[in-house]
Symmetry: C2
Amino acid sequence: MSHNDWLTTTPEPPYTAVIFTSRRTTTDDKGYSEMAQLMGTLSAQQPGFLGVESARGNDRVGITVSYWATPAHAQAWKQVAEHIGAQRTGRERWYEDYATRIATVERDYTMDTSTFE
Amino acid sequence: MSHNDWLTTTPEPPYTAVIFTSRRTTTDDKGYSEMAQLMGTLSAQQPGFLGVESARGNDRVGITVSYWATPAHAQAWKQVAEHIGAQRTGRERWYEDYATRIATVERDYTMDTSTFE
């Protein structure tokens, strides 16, 4: 898959997707934004990181999907100390609620390769 | 997982996630919006449909994740006639580009069950 900057160029499946769906509280936009940027930088430095896609609408619901070479790589990022701190503040302050799902991507296609079948 | 209306209540893994990342063109907001609503209604009537989560930001990048009981259920929805028509118009008119990834969710947790480890 070869792409624009908002789409991740992922290898042939299988690879790992971490789907994070959340709703932001209305508090501390500045702190959240700074931490999100820091976590983006840190995650991109982790072994096995393939890329990330993210969207958040005006209703404050957001979905971030990060892609990893293996489930072990995704799990290792969850346990990085700075990330644990961010997760804790997220739960206490930035998110009304969230869900995280760890998945193995088995097939993929793009606009160029889609067949509608 | 038990949730708000913007979060899907999914069963114990494994289940299937279809991750659709796209960027909207600036054309035909009305037609796109009507079709998106229709496809939302139709998909919810399909066998094996578990729910859908969606976000689109001001940069027009969006992520929609639909959840299905099995990969076969997700594949069957891709082949529903009305959906094939929507996919074609999406490619021709509504999307600059997109990627679709079909994945098996193997673990999940929510804010209530997260342990930071």
